[in-house]
Every structure is written in C-alpha cells, then in structure tokens.
C-alpha cells in the first residue's frame, strides 16, 4: 500500500500505509494516538508520547507557511525528467511539517513565510498509481 505514496517507491510497507487511501479520497491527514491523543505529521504508527501502537487518521488543515525551499538541478534516480524542480518544507498550522514539490500555482521565488496549501494529488492508475501532495499558493485569508 505505502508503495503508492510519493513520486517514486522506496518504502513498500508501513503501518501507516492507509495514508494512500486518505489521499485518494482527497483528505490530508495526520496520525492521532487513540490512547493519549497525540497527533503527528508525518504520520506515526507508534506514539512518541505514550508509546501506544494504536492510532487513527484524522483530517487536518492544509494551511501552512513556507519554511524553506530549494530548486534542484542535479536529480537523483526517478527525477531525471523533472529538473529543475523546486522542493519546499512547510510548517503546518495543525502542527508538524511537510516536504513536497511545488505545484503549478506556487511561484518559485516566493518568500519564506509565504502562506501555502498542502494539496492531495493522485496521478496514474493501476500499477502506475501515485498518491502524494503538492505545495500550492494560498491567499492569506482563504482556507486551504
């Protein structure tokens, strides 16, 4: 399941593989410990607060701010056709951070601190299916 997450497959199996289904349904989710309620993005199967291994996915806000970014000119395997591509790290309003590629709407020269949205995306079908998210432009007062 997890092998469909992201732009290429590196990790095939994970207890949080269900994130793929959530993204396919258009939901941006964090994990939530069902014992103590601690939330995490990126999702974790095991709670860093109380060590419980029971969790659920909860939908969270897509609202975020740009923390840093880089435009990559020397690509690793699987990204050769993308260069140059821009990768950003964002601080989520719901807590936690995400790394993702810039979507079409986010200008490459956006300043640090710029409001962005983390938007679920699906590409391909069958064996070629990929579920991921991109960083998109967000108007300051608009919601995700």
């Amino acid at each position: 399941m997890f092998d469909r997450f992201g732009m290429i497959t590196l990790t095939r199996f994970s207890k949080v593989g269900g994130i793929v289904d959530e993204l396919l349904a258009g939901r941006f989710v964090a994990s939530r410990c069902t014992r103590c309620g601690a939330r995490s993005f990126p999702p974790r199967a095991d709670c860093s607060e109380c060590r419980s291994g029971e969790f659920e996915f909860v939908e969270i806000s897509r609202r975020a701010r740009l923390l840093s970014y880089t435009t990559i000119h020397a690509a690793p395997t699987g990204f050769e056709d993308q260069v140059p591509y821009t990768l950003g790290v964002v601080e989520l309003e719901a807590g936690g951070r995400a790394m993702a590629c810039y979507g079409e709407t986010l200008p490459v020269d956006s300043e640090l601190g710029t409001p962005v949205s983390v938007v679920p995306c699906v590409r391909g079908k069958g064996d070629g299916l990929r579920a991921y998210y991109t960083l998109e432009r967000r108007e300051e007062e608009a919601d995700g």
Binding site: I8, P42, T70, P76, A98
Partner: protein, 384 residues
C-alpha cells in the same frame, strides 16, 4: 576510566583511486600508522573499521580489512554513522581502551566511492534523507543543506560571497596538502559562477565523493608514555543525535547534535571554544562550515559568514579551521573523514604540518557530522 592517547597516524592519498581496492587503500594508511608509532602489530588488540557500506561491492568490509591487514584472530567490526562513521569508530576504540579491555587498538577509516556506476551513485544520492516522507519527493544531500542555507541567509543576511569564502579558503589549504584530492586554489569568481546544484548551493559549495583511507592507533596512558616523547591525548568526547528528518527539527539554522556534542566535549576536557587553537569541522557544504563555527561557539549565531570573510578561520586568524583543505578540497571519502580529521589534528598538535602548521597548537578539535546532522561527534585532543 583510563586516559587514552593517539600514538600513531596514517593517511593515504584522497581522490579517484583507480589503482586500488578498498583494502589496498586501507593498507596504505595502516602501514604509515604502524611505522610512525614503531609498534609491533601483534600488540593491536582490536580494530574498528569505519565505512559506509553501500558504496562498496564488498559486503561486510570489516572482515576483509582485518584479514588484509593481517590482524586475525583479533576482533573487528564496522561502525556506521553516515559521514561520521570514522568518529563512531574512534569513540568505540576510545571506550574499549578507557574501560581497560585493550591497551592498544586500531581505527581504520576506508572508503571507495568511485567504483560504482553513475546510475548506482544517483540511486544512493536519492536515498540520503528519510526515505519514507522526504526522498520520495526528490530530496538530495545538497538539497537539505540548501534548505539550511536559505534559512540562514534569510534570518542573518548571510551572503553567497560569505559561503564562497569558505570554499576559497579550503581550496587554498588543499593546494598545500599533498594528500588532498584537489590540490588547486579556487578563486571567488570561480566558486560563485560554478553550476547550480541545489539553489542557492553550487558545485563549488559541495565537497566531492572520494576514495581514501586513514588510520589511528590508540593506547592506554601507560603504553603511550612508554613510547617516550610528547603524548597527544584524546581528552574530550562528545556525541549526540538529532532527528533524521528535517521535518522533526526545531531549527534549520543550527545542528542541535553539534551543539550538544560540543557541550559534552568541552565539559569533559575542561576547556571551552576560546582555548581551541586549531579545528577540523565538517564542511560537506560551505554552509555546513558556517553552521559549525556557530554551533561550536567559535562565533555567535549568525556571525559565521562575516567571521569567515574576515579571515578569522585562516592560519593567523582567531581559529584556523580546515587548514588541510577540509572535505571541500581534501575530498570526502565518507567513512574515512572522521579519522582523517583526527589525523590532521594530532599532526598539528605535534607540529608536523609544514606550511599548514598552526603556531602554538596545543588543543585541537574535530567536528564530524553524519548526514544532515542526525549524528555529530566532537572530540578534543591535547598535547602535553
């Protein structure tokens, strides 16, 4: 715990070594260390091999190295902490001697990075970070340091010229180190105009993959003193970790593992940054040297750029840094680097570095970072 000394150092030529296997590279450094210490290899109680395994076709390298050095049946294993693997081996060796398990041990850093095919290297480059949440979006090793650089520039006004000054300095010293990969100076213009890799970092902001080996022999105080002469002691060790994922780090303008490791090392050695006379810091990228200067307390946070541009990290400056060329010009055989740093500092403390020698060096520091800071080891060496 017993006090531990470095009694022998060996360092091979770094670069693209199309002449040798990784065990042949290791032997070059081992031979030099054993000859320098003038000990009988039969005295070596154990060996720790530092290498990042995935670059070599030979699996379980430690076994091959121990055999090729002729040190069976004494124990050996490999330590890995990415680019800080060498310091992990040194830490293991120090602990074994300090505990009293052995009186004399060897640390061998060795790495062959240029034997893989280009496709294999590109695949490895794409799996440097957390593969579950980061690498699947195309992150690379320079990309992480580019994220750090971008933040540092935004927060402190650090400039491209300041970053480039790190590379210019390190190439200046590399040109004076016969073991370096690039023994050639680089002008500010050349650094600034090199090809982009991960914006704002360019080719000359990045160190290069290299082949090469280095070796250290450690001994107990008693054995070290029996050899006569001045002794170089490993008196302060610091080692810490930070989240692998950049998504779990509080701040992108500092490596928390470096701050914590240096705190430990200074406390253990009973000396602060102001007492350090020469330092080897982990300049895998130019921004990394700037962060190191700040994390180690050589200058205030945000001051690393101006500090460098003012020449304070050159010989004659406040704290000479990477006067062997650093990872940038010496080359970065990743498993070897931590051992290579220690070799340079020990030789500086012995006054054996010729035109690169730092006058009056009696306390030296190594700062060795693994990956993007998930590991950091800081060590303090003292001549007495």
């Amino acid at each position: 715990m017993r006090r531990v000394a470095v009694i022998g150092t060996g360092h091979g030529r770094f670069g693209v070594r199309k002449d040798a296997t990784v065990q042949e590279l290791a032997f070059e450094a081992y031979r030099e260390a054993v000859d320098e210490a003038a000990i009988d290899p039969a005295e070596i109680g154990a060996t720790w091999v530092a290498s990042v395994p995935e670059y070599q076709k030979q699996r379980s390298l430690a076994g091959v190295i121990q055999e090729y050095l002729g040190l069976n049946p004494r124990p050996v294993w490999l330590t890995e902490a990415a680019c800080a693997s060498g310091s992990a081996a040194l830490h293991t060796a120090w602990t074994a001697v300090a505990a009293g398990l052995y009186d004399l041990v060897a640390v061998v850093g060795c790495q062959k990075m240029t034997e893989l095919e280009t496709a294999e290297i590109l695949a490895l480059m794409g799996r440097v970070g957390d593969v579950q949440w980061e690498s699947v979006f195309g992150s690379t090793f320079p990309a992480y340091y580019a994220l750090f650089a971008r933040q540092h520039m935004a927060r402190y006004g650090t400039t491209r010229e300041q970053l480039a000054a790190v590379a210019v300095k390190n190439h200046y010293y590399g040109a004076r180190n016969g073991k370096a990969m690039f023994q050639k100076e680089a002008s500010l213009e050349k650094v600034l105009s090199s090809a982009p890799v991960a914006d704002p970092l360019r080719v000359f902001d990045c160190c290069a993959n290299a082949d090469g080996a280095a070796c250290l022999l450690l001994a107990s105080a008693e054995r070290a003193k029996s050899l006569g002469g001045e002794v170089v002691w490993l008196d302060g060790l610091g080692s810490a970790s930070a989240p692998m994922s950049v998504l779990r780090r509080e701040d992108l303008c500092s490596l928390p593992s470096a701050v914590e490791a240096s705190r430990q090392a200074y406390a253990m050695a009973g000396a602060g940054p102001e007492a350090v006379k020469v330092a080897e810091v982990h300049d895998c990228f130019t921004i990394a040297e700037i962060l190191a200067l700040e994390d180690l307390g050589f200058c205030a946070p945000g001051e690393g750029g101006p500090f460098t541009l003012a020449g304070e990290t050159r010989t004659g400056g406040r704290i000479p840094v990477n006067v062997d060329g650093g990872l940038k010009a010496k080359g970065h055989p990743i498993g070897t680097t931590g051992v290579s740093m220690a070799v340079e500092i020990v030789r500086q403390l012995r006054g054996a570095c010729g035109e690169r020698q730092v006058a009056g060096a009696d306390l030296g520091l190594t700062h060795n970072v693994g990956g993007i800071g998930q590991y950091c080891f800081v060590n303090l060496f003292r001549r007495e």
